[in-house]
């Protein structure tokens, strides 16, 4: 199984994402933002970082990269896509996921080990977890506050499309403590914290992020 990891100018976490893909049991394929070529991958990860320097708005310029036109089309046809941190911002700017990520409510760049609760394990990227399972993975961003209008929030909650929430104090002002959401089909997932930095205890706070990368294999085997 081939999982593409996209590198934009300014992407930081592509190597960790590729390493996590391999640890999960799949083959990691590097994709370049300027190439309109998905190299026959079965799924795509948009990793974290500061694509295009976060100019204009985080993810706003990346959304128009040649590779993204193909990702948007494939995602709409059901291909699994995971956006982590900056990748989540790109997915929101691409309108593959509703809402937007805005400045952390206290304006500080956060870097900490964050506890999350998985609240939806039906998606392509969360099926290795159980509902209510608590995991600790790194959270590191300046614009991670999930915002949307009341109607969208009611829709997300009503359809069970929140996939993970922050546990404890709200770290960044996100509505309803939202750390991650999915689209209606469950193939596209955006997550602010970084599971790819928590795949083994040698390099991460825990190995509890690995589930995102084993989930995708389960999803493809089904």
């Amino acid at each position: 199984m081939r999982i593409g990891v996209i590198t934009f100018p300014g992407t930081l976490d592509d190597r960790d994402a590729a390493r996590a893909v391999v640890a999960g049991g799949a083959q990691a394929i590097s994709l370049w933002h300027a190439d309109a070529d998905l190299k026959k991958v079965d799924a795509v990860i948009l990793p974290g970082g500061f694509s295009y320097g976060d100019y204009l708005r985080c993810g706003a310029i990346s959304r128009f990269a040649p590779v993204m036109e193909l990702v948007i089309e494939a995602a709409n046809n059901g291909m699994p896509v995971l956006g982590i941190c900056n990748g989540f911002q790109v997915l929101a700017e691409s309108h593959l996921l509703p809402g937007a990520l805005t400045r952390n409510s206290d304006l500080h760049f956060l870097c900490c080990d964050q506890e999350l609760e998985i609240v939806n394990n039906k998606t392509a990227w969360t099926n290795s977890y159980s509902v209510g399972e608590k995991i600790v993975i790194p959270l590191k961003n300046g614009e991670g506050s999930y915002q949307c209008d009341d109607q969208t929030l009611a829709m997300l909650e009503g359809e069970g499309r929140v996939i993970a929430r922050y546990v404890g104090e709200n770290p960044n002002g996100s509505r309803n403590l939202i750390a991650g959401i999915t689209n209606a089909k469950g193939n596209v997932v955006g997550l602010m914290p970084h599971p790819e930095h928590a795949i083994d205890e040698l390099t991460g706070p825990t190995a509890q992020g690995l589930g995102f990368f084993t989930s995708i294999l389960n999803a493809m085997v089904k």
């Binding site: 708005r57 805005t102 409510s105 209008d149 002002g173």
Partner: protein, 99 residues
């Protein structure tokens, strides 16, 4: 073709005469939290400026075009404001021609 790196003051003046500026202002929607505006609002009184009850911070784009602005150009700029310059999920924009 030989490139000209410097233009005479007269040429520069003439060029400026034939340029117009379209301004796009982008603001967070009123219901969206603006932590930057709040930070500015709380810094003002520390400096002795006590006039503000609230501050909202936004972005301003100045777009230069050749000659007079046509309605077709304004429509294009509106489209660009909708697609790229603003995120309609969280922001509003206004487009105007600067005199």
């Amino acid at each position: 073709m030989k490139k000209r790196f410097f233009e005479s003051p007269a040429a520069s003046f003439k060029r400026e005469q034939t340029m117009a500026t379209i301004v796009v202002d982008v603001m967070l929607k009123p219901e969206i939290l603006d932590p930057q505006g709040n930070a500015v609002a709380s810094a003002l009184p520390r400096l002795g400026f006590t006039f503000a009850t609230s501050v909202r911070q936004g972005k301003r784009f100045e777009i230069e075009v050749e000659g007079d602005v046509t309605p077709a150009q304004l429509t294009e700029v509106e489209k660009a404001a909708e697609v790229l310059l603003s995120n309609p999920v969280i922001e509003n924009y206004t487009v105007r021609v600067e005199k």
